[in-house]
Symmetry: C2
Subunit: 671 residues, 2 copies
């Protein structure tokens, strides 16, 4: 029987969302369902009392999305009838540069053929319109919105996504579509990691070697950055730039060797195993002159108040080996590298202060003497968050939200900024916890892959940052996340489209469905395991199964639940048997193709493993159906086979192991 793994996502979830009445994500802080509904089968009229350009643009986007999602045409109805009135009102104009201090709340009322969105600030209107769009659904008479009142305000004012554009360059159009996605889930900060050992990604007119020598040819022109900043502003997204230093700075040093505290750099870092990664020399005055020149330029280009200087993973070894630096340290009574970095940071902060910016850095910068206006981004663990807040620093969380580590949405959803050490903060201290950022590092991410790394889980993190902390129901989260992710493709995000095309590419002349069946059961290796399996460089194509599949297998999640039920429930066993049969027989469909395709060949052992797991599952189901126990020896054998079949291969792992294990371990229920 034919199957289509990729659509199972939408499928499984849509079926289970019947219980969730409204497919909102992030869930609003207060919601009152009212009687009736407003028909939305004509393009609405707008009455806008709000002079901000952003609101006008948001209204245009709303109409465009409404047309796309409903298939309505850009004409009035045949009888010249108009849709409902949407009244929009904001109290005050927003700030010229969007700030973390602005009120983003809104009040949305849908009732009696009228809709109103009001907010103290244009940002609230933007969020309210996104909520309104999520409310549009099909009803008995066509498109409609259930009557409802939503009073909504974010829990945290800093809700971000970091995209690393240094390890792999991400073109402007890909960033733009991801900004659209961010706006859809009410995120408000795009943190761009703009320089690292692999490349410096912004045109610099003051120090042009940074982008000519230091980028390998891949960088944003200043006009593109301005375009991006405006694009973000129009959607309520601040763009926070990061120039990582004094470590992660080979691109700077390749361009300007005098910055180096060690050897010069002969080329940008290409291979993950490259060990020559010199650090910036914090003891030379010329270093600060260069940085000041670049910051003068970049602080103008990026209008946001916050400016990120990185500061993570500083390689002290080049400082240790440099005699001049050692002499300088003794002369200045700086006793270790940590103090030296602290000195460096203070110098950077002074430069940034001159340009009216607040310095931001990774949690390594948290050391005595760190200027009080610094924002500390916690990544090594949540402890730095509480520590920073107690010490009077603004802070935000990224630990637990590293999207490149391939953890499931449920795990990210469970990360709570105000838990652990932070749970005991005073109210004043808690107010310093601004929120957090998901981080998408791109060692294993190309533009083609990016959307499918971010979006299958981003909605869950966005909800954690926006919605009440009390929201913890994972089933509801997954149901709403699936609807969100289907709708995000209307913004031209390509998490599903590209995944499908990549699987087609891998399949070649083999049956796509069989490749999909296999693909739907696997997940990429988690954590930092992938980098250890084979040598990788920035030029290695990322076009294999591990790159094509989503970080999380919806099929495995579903099947692991189904297996729990199957132990007791014969109907679930019938359903489960269909899946197991398909898995058992799938390998035979692919076998003829393995030898003729490099991309399929590496899947051969996986495919056999899936077949083994299917066969074991069927065996166990047979036993359960016949109400008999498996012989102990056979059971042990099967458990060993499951372990073997679910061992990593080709940098992925089959994830239905727990389901099969449950079946093997189940004892028949005597009726």
């Amino acid at each position: 029987m034919k199957t289509c793994a990729l659509t199972l996502l939408a499928l499984g979830i849509v079926a289970s969302t019947r219980a969730v009445e409204l497919n909102l994500m992030p869930w609003p802080s207060q919601i009152t369902q009212l009687q009736g509904s407003v028909r939305m089968d004509r393009l609405p009229q707008f009455r806008v009392q709000c002079t901000d350009r952003r609101v006008r643009m948001a209204v245009a986007r709303f109409s465009e999305q409404l047309k796309l999602r409903t298939g309505m045409l850009p004409f009035p109805g045949p009888d010249n009838s108009q849709g409902p009135l949407i009244a929009i009102q904001c109290t005050l104009p927003g700030l010229a540069v969007q700030s973390v201090t602005e009120d983003e709340s809104y009040d949305l009322i849908v009732e009696a053929n009228q809709v109103s969105v009001s907010a103290p600030n244009p940002l609230g209107i933007l969020h309210g319109l996104e909520t309104l769009l999520q409310l549009v659904r099909t009803g008995e008479h066509g498109w409609e919105i259930s009557s409802v009142r939503i009073q909504d305000t974010p829990r945290f004012p800093w809700r971000g996504l970091l995209i690393d554009v240094s390890r792999h360059f991400i073109p402007l159009d890909v960033l733009k579509r991801n900004i659209d996605g961010m706006a859809a889930v009410k995120l408000n900060v795009l943190h761009l990691h703009l320089s690292d050992d692999e490349g410096f990604r912004v045109e610099s007119k003051k120090r042009p070697k940074l982008h000519t020598v230091g980028s390998g040819g891949f960088y944003y022109q200043q006009s593109e950055i301005r375009e991006l900043v405006l694009y973000g502003r129009d959607r309520g997204i601040r763009i926070v730039p990061e120039f990582d230093m004094p470590g992660h700075a080979v691109s700077w040093i390749l361009a300007y060797p005098q910055l180096s505290s060690g050897p010069p750099a002969s080329r940008l870092v290409q291979d993950m195993s490259d060990s020559v990664r010199p650090t910036i020399d914090p003891t030379k005055e010329s270093t600060y002159k260069t940085i000041d020149a670049v910051f003068a330029e970049m602080t103008k280009l990026f209008p946001d108040k916050y400016f990120h200087i990185g500061g993570d993973e500083v390689e002290g070894k080049y400082w240790d080996q440099n005699e001049k630096i050692q002499l300088w340290m003794r002369a200045h009574k700086i006793k270790d590298n940590r103090e030296l970095q602290a000195y460096f940071n203070k110098r950077l902060q002074k430069i940034l202060l001159k340009y009216r910016k607040r310095m931001t850095g990774w949690d390594e910068i948290l050391s005595p003497g760190l200027p009080q206006d610094t924002l500390v981004q916690s990544w090594r663990g949540p402890e730095a968050l509480a520590q920073s807040a107690k010490l009077g620093y603004q802070t935000m969380l990224s630990a637990g939200w590293y999207l490149d580590l391939m953890y499931p949405a449920s795990q990210h959803y469970a990360v709570e900024p105000l838990s652990g050490d932070s749970a005991h903060l005073t109210e004043e201290e808690k107010a310093r916890v601004l929120g957090g950022e998901a981080a998408q590092w791109t060692e294993f991410v190309t533009p083609e892959v990016l959307d499918n790394r971010i979006w299958p889980r981003m909605g869950a993190i966005a909800e954690r940052l926006w919605s009440p902390a009390s929201l913890t129901d994972v089933t509801s989260m997954y149901a709403r996340l699936a609807v969100l992710n289907a709708n995000l493709e209307w913004l031209d995000l390509r998490h599903r489209t590209n995944s499908l095309r990549m699987l087609e590419r891998i399949a070649g002349s083999a049956p796509l469905e069989a490749v999909e069946v296999l693909a739907s059961t696997v997940e990429p290796l988690k954590g930092y395991e992938r980098g250890k399996t084979q040598p990788y460089s920035v030029t290695t194509p990322l076009n294999r199964l591990v790159d094509a599949v989503a970080p999380e297998s919806d099929v495995a999640r579903k099947i692991n639940l189904l297996a729990q039920q199957a132990v007791h429930d014969p109907v679930s066993r019938l359903e489960l048997r269909k899946w197991l049969l398909r898995w058992r027989d799938n390998d035979a469909l692919l076998q003829p193709y393995f030898s003729s395709s490099k991309f399929l060949a590496e899947l051969s052992p996986l495919s056999r493993s899936l077949s083994v797991l299917g066969a074991i599952g069927i065996d166990s189901l047979d036993a359960l159906d016949a109400n008999r126990s498996l012989p102990e020896e056979k059971r042990a054998q099967q458990l060993a086979s499951i372990d073997e079949a679910t061992a990593p291969h080709a940098e992925v792992r089959i994830m239905i192991g727990p389901a099969i294990r449950q079946l093997v371990e189940a004892e028949p229920v005597t009726k």
Copy 2:
């Protein structure tokens, strides 16, 4: 068991293409397979001996597509190794304005780690690179191209696609992606139907009411037309404009009422049933003054030699009712409306001659005195083609290639320009048959739907126009067409993507897969049936099942074949039974949702019909398996049920009727 109808297309076909070694479409005129293959797992180097800008652009597009299709990165390999050398050589530069007379042949050699494409004209290089891209496939060691020599030349010099941008406006970006698709299958003419009763679609600076009053707000700016013409030229596509007159001209008359031979127009035509459609008055000199002014402008904007004046379906009734016209006709000894139109055409031809254009028109213009340099486009039937050629006119075929009529690819593929009356033409006369054009009229087509109307069948027509007439194997055609259509999505064509999204939109909270199962078995009504079922206007949303599905059901084609085999073959019966079970049980999955969604509700009777067909099929299979005949009465009953279940509903029809009928009518084979 889960299913995914949309991917069955790729699936079914890819499986059956194993026999077809090379997935080329259109198939080249001469092909010699050589030993070995060239690896293509690094970006190739190019050596271009050809100064034409178009070749440079084509090389860039080739590299871009190669990266997309293979997942290669835009870097050299880890060892700085380069891919194979592609040597490109053209003998002469092309003409400044692409002409129907240019030599489009090319010679492609893939051998010994080198590729060469040579051609007398840059156009041949463009075609050769498209062929080369189609040759790239996965092999044992990665991406590769089998060694081969292809000497290729088109059978017809005019290979076109007409897109009607008047009935529904088609934005520039949608036209562009379709031009990319056209280039991929070596088409060379995009014929734009730019004016009709529903709108005039080009900005006119000389007669601006044409686009301000006559367009309803939807038109191309002149700068956009220039952009489009250049976009086409870069891809070897001529853009031929059509301004339809003297009928189909309400947009002209709304803008300039003095053109009318009847009442003025009060608005653009919106409803298909609108009967007030005044015709241009050919008896006034002021008419020609207006037309001359517009042609002066438009002939400059569209550099192509050919200029289409429509001339089809002239409504004579307004001429009959107009006393002045009748008087004028008598005074000028013009005895009927046909002669009057001939007079009109001669006047137009004189104007066009002044601007060095060749007049082109639909076959109604073929009447005595038609200027000899006119190109006649045959649409009402193939007869006009032979007739025109015999009378010394250039001519081309559209009859049989109307894509809006929803016929299967096989039917379009069977249309042969030089058959019927044309088979007996002399060589000289045959040379006047320039080729043909598929025509995509857009009464029922929005930009969202367009790609899925054109591309599921366009490759077959392109092959008919390019390849040797001897190519008639429908199985091979469908196999290669499927591969082509999968690859066209790399050009961002959205025939599959949009279809899937539209089905998701229809499904709403119902299981998408069940909607797909139903959708995969239906086809839209054929011919002109759809317009008769309900009132339609240009504002009617086209977002129902009939709009979402492809013109042709690949599942039905496959199943109808499978049923033939199943009569004799138990293994085919096993496979068929799975499909039948799924269809029988599919309705139960959808039933809970019909009442709550307008879009699903109309599918309820269809869904029940599919279930009935599935059940009847299973009954018949049971009988076959048990080697017994169905009682005659039951058989008659079942055949009646099949008729009922396959009657049109919701403007589609379930297409598996023939399969089920075969099963019911089968007599068991006694072994």
